[in-house]
């Protein structure tokens, strides 16, 4: 608690200091923007972000490891985004923190965060945009949205990358129809997700296919969870998406050991379908979000560990998982503040007691929008999956600062 008290005092001091340095007249200081270079046929922007926080875990009785009670670097990102005069767009986005962590630990610290966040080219000269390379997948509103533009420090578990991959290498098509009300995505990807750089393609020789359809009203909407525009007319988007892969491995072949992830769900030896929908509505500074993602996994092998040792008569040859996330945000630029509360509930399989739910609170004090912002996040598990994901703590708080340039 002494640390928290110190942190609270330091936070107030930093906030006041920031007010002094970034007064109302300097809130849009150019140092918080990217840097753009132009040549005759090419324009390129260099941007990125740096952030870190103090975190404090409330450990349960009997646990003494306080390694999560201290400082943490969240981001040290560098992003190169370019456009050519003949309608090509390219991006190269790396996380130096993840690259250094991967190098120092032989990629064992966090294999699903290899350090690459985007490396693609796209052509936007046609009605249908074509993108080839590695980038976020067009699946799940929560996954597509940038967490740095919210008061939270991390995505909800459901779409944070443990249940399904958020990025992959592949080909994406995107077009808008009916006065921009309809937005369509379709694509084929390696299916290896963020582990593509570690293992390349798997031995099945098949793709993962993803489709997403959105309806936006009254018109095109960006993937931004907050109503920073203080919209005077209600706006909403409703979407449905699906992804499917058959990664049944040839005899004698296996999937890379890290690729299935913490719950073994990100890729399996067998068929896997994830489907769901999401909704966002914005009005006068408020935004409400809902998302559900459900999975059906059909392992090729009846003795697959995902079956938890149950017989085919019990499991029917498949496992189901998934859940929902819902959230409410209020953004006020007069207060320079955003308040957020999120709740999620999900299962990692339907054969054991794997349900867990979490409650998240977030607050952001915006010195210069989300380009220069103090963020505080506090979350607690309201239902714990003691069998599949036993926790050593009963809550966690993170307070830190973020600069986007």
């Amino acid at each position: 608690m002494k640390k928290l008290l110190f942190l609270a005092i330091a936070t107030i001091a930093i906030t006041n200091l920031c007010n002094a340095q970034f007064s109302e007249f300097q809130r849009s200081d150019s140092s918080t923007s990217g840097f753009t270079f132009s040549s005759e046929n090419n324009t390129m922007q260099i941007g990125g972000r740096v952030s870190g926080y103090y975190e404090n875990r409330f450990l349960k009785t009997g646990y003494t490891n306080l390694s999560h009670n201290g400082w943490a670097v969240k981001d040290a990102d560098l992003d190169l985004l370019g456009k050519t005069n003949n309608h090509f767009v390219y991006e190269f986005h790396i996380s130096l923190v993840d690259i250094i962590a991967a190098a120092a630990t032989q990629n064992t610290a966090n294999p699903a965060n290899p350090g690459f966040k985007a490396a693609y080219i796209s052509y936007e000269g046609w009605k249908v945009h074509v993108k080839f390379g590695y980038d976020k997948l067009p699946f799940s509103q929560g996954s597509i949205s940038d967490v740095y533009a919210t008061p939270m420090w991390s995505h909800a578990n459901l779409y944070g990358g443990d249940l399904f991959s958020r990025r992959d290498f592949g080909l994406t098509f995107n077009t808008r129809l009916l006065h921009n009300h309809i937005n369509l995505y379709g694509g084929a990807y390696s299916g290896m997700g963020e582990n593509f750089y570690e293992y390349g393609n798997d031995a099945s020789g098949t793709f993962e296919y993803i489709g997403r359809i959105e309806y936006c009203f009254p018109g095109k909407m960006k993937y931004h969870p907050l109503d920073e525009e203080n919209t005077q007319k209600p706006t909403f988007r409703i979407a449905a998406n699906i992804r499917y892969e058959d990664k049944t491995q040839p005899t004698g072949q296996t999937i890379g050991v890290d690729a299935p992830g913490a719950y073994g769900l990100r890729i399996i030896n067998g068929k896997r379908m994830v489907y769901g929908g999401d909704f966002i509505a914005k009005y006068k500074g408020f935004s409400y979000l809902f998302e559900t993602d459900l999975m059906k996994l059909t392992p090729a092998n009846a003795t697959d560990p995902l079956f938890e040792g149950t017989s085919n008569a019990v499991n029917g040859g498949y496992i189901k998982a998934g859940g929902f996330v819902t959230g409410l945000n209020y953004n006020s630029d007069k207060l320079r503040s955003t308040f957020s509360v999120n709740y999620e509930d999900f299962k990692t399989d339907d054969l054991t007691v794997s349900e867990q739910s979490w409650l998240y609170f977030g607050y952001a004090y915006k010195v210069s929008g989300y380009n220069s912002v103090l963020k505080a996040e506090y979350y607690i598990p309201t239902k714990e999956a003691t069998l599949t994901n036993p926790l050593k703590y009963s809550g966690q708080i993170r307070i830190g600062y973020q600069i986007v340039f």
Partner: protein, 252 residues
């Protein structure tokens, strides 16, 4: 009976809720004047219309599109003709004498078209070092100071240029979170912030704000005044043109 850890959380939750209440109670809402549009049209064949300007000689409008296209349109928004030479990301348009000037935001260029046949005359380069799509979303001619004015979207920097687009001066515009449109009209300088959904009326020498109005348009990107002084605003995301009545008298 609560455990030690649950007590921690209850305290923290209480602190969090009290914090929210204190902040909300400190908030005193301003009574803002909201300008509401009277009618609107869908600009069917103009994808993402980003700016509009009225030409008193032809009684037509010129509209530019985020897709790098320049259109001449009738009063109802119907296309009369289109320039052959396209750019990358047209965001601002102005008419002066026999020429049309268009700001191409991403490559930081200004296209000069001949009004008579919409042919390209010249391309000027302008300097803006900010983010790729946060550069000049507006271009207008300030007849009070006899110079072109372009305002970068974010951070908002007002830059004055001579007629060969040599930079004369620049200053920060510290009001509004972004700037998406600007127009000199009848001795006043009008600026729109898309993020704030706000129209600022400024004096045209130092660009000091004299009055501001909230506007009920989402993604307001372009601003024009017709022959009767009625205001028109384009929205790129909604692909619409909004018609307003004349602005209320401005408090000096």
């Amino acid at each position: 009976m609560y455990s030690k850890f649950k007590i921690h959380h209850i305290y923290l939750l209480q602190i969090f809720l009290v914090f929210i209440v204190v902040i909300l109670l400190s908030f005193k809402p301003n009574k803002e004047q909201i300008l509401k549009y009277n009618s609107n049209v869908y600009l069917k064949n103009i994808p993402e219309p980003s700016d509009i300007v009225y030409d008193s000689q032809s009684n037509h409008f010129y509209i530019v599109s985020d897709h790098g296209k320049l259109f001449e349109c009738a009063n109802d928004g119907k296309i009369i003709r289109k320039a052959q030479k396209e750019g990358l990301d047209f965001e601002g348009v102005e008419v002066k004498d026999s020429f049309i000037y268009v700001s191409d935001e991403t490559p930081r260029k200004v296209y000069q078209y001949r009004k008579s046949d919409l042919s390209l005359v010249k391309i000027f380069s302008v300097k803006c070092g900010g983010a790729l799509n946060k550069a000049y979303e507006s271009i207008t001619y300030n007849y009070t100071k006899n110079c072109f004015v372009m305002i970068s979207q974010q951070p908002a920097i007002i830059v004055e240029y001579d007629e060969q687009f040599n930079e004369i001066s620049r200053k920060k515009f510290n009001i509004g979170r972004d700037i998406s449109a600007a127009r000199w009209y009848n001795g006043k300088f009008y600026i729109i912030s898309s993020k704030d959904a706000c129209l600022y009326v400024c004096e045209a020498t130092k660009y000091d704000v004299q009055q501001y109005y909230k506007i009920n348009v989402i993604n307001a990107e372009g601003l024009a005044f017709d022959a009767n002084g009625k205001m028109l605003i384009t929205s790129d995301d909604l692909q619409r043109l909004y018609f307003f009545n004349q602005l209320p008298n401005i408090k000096q």
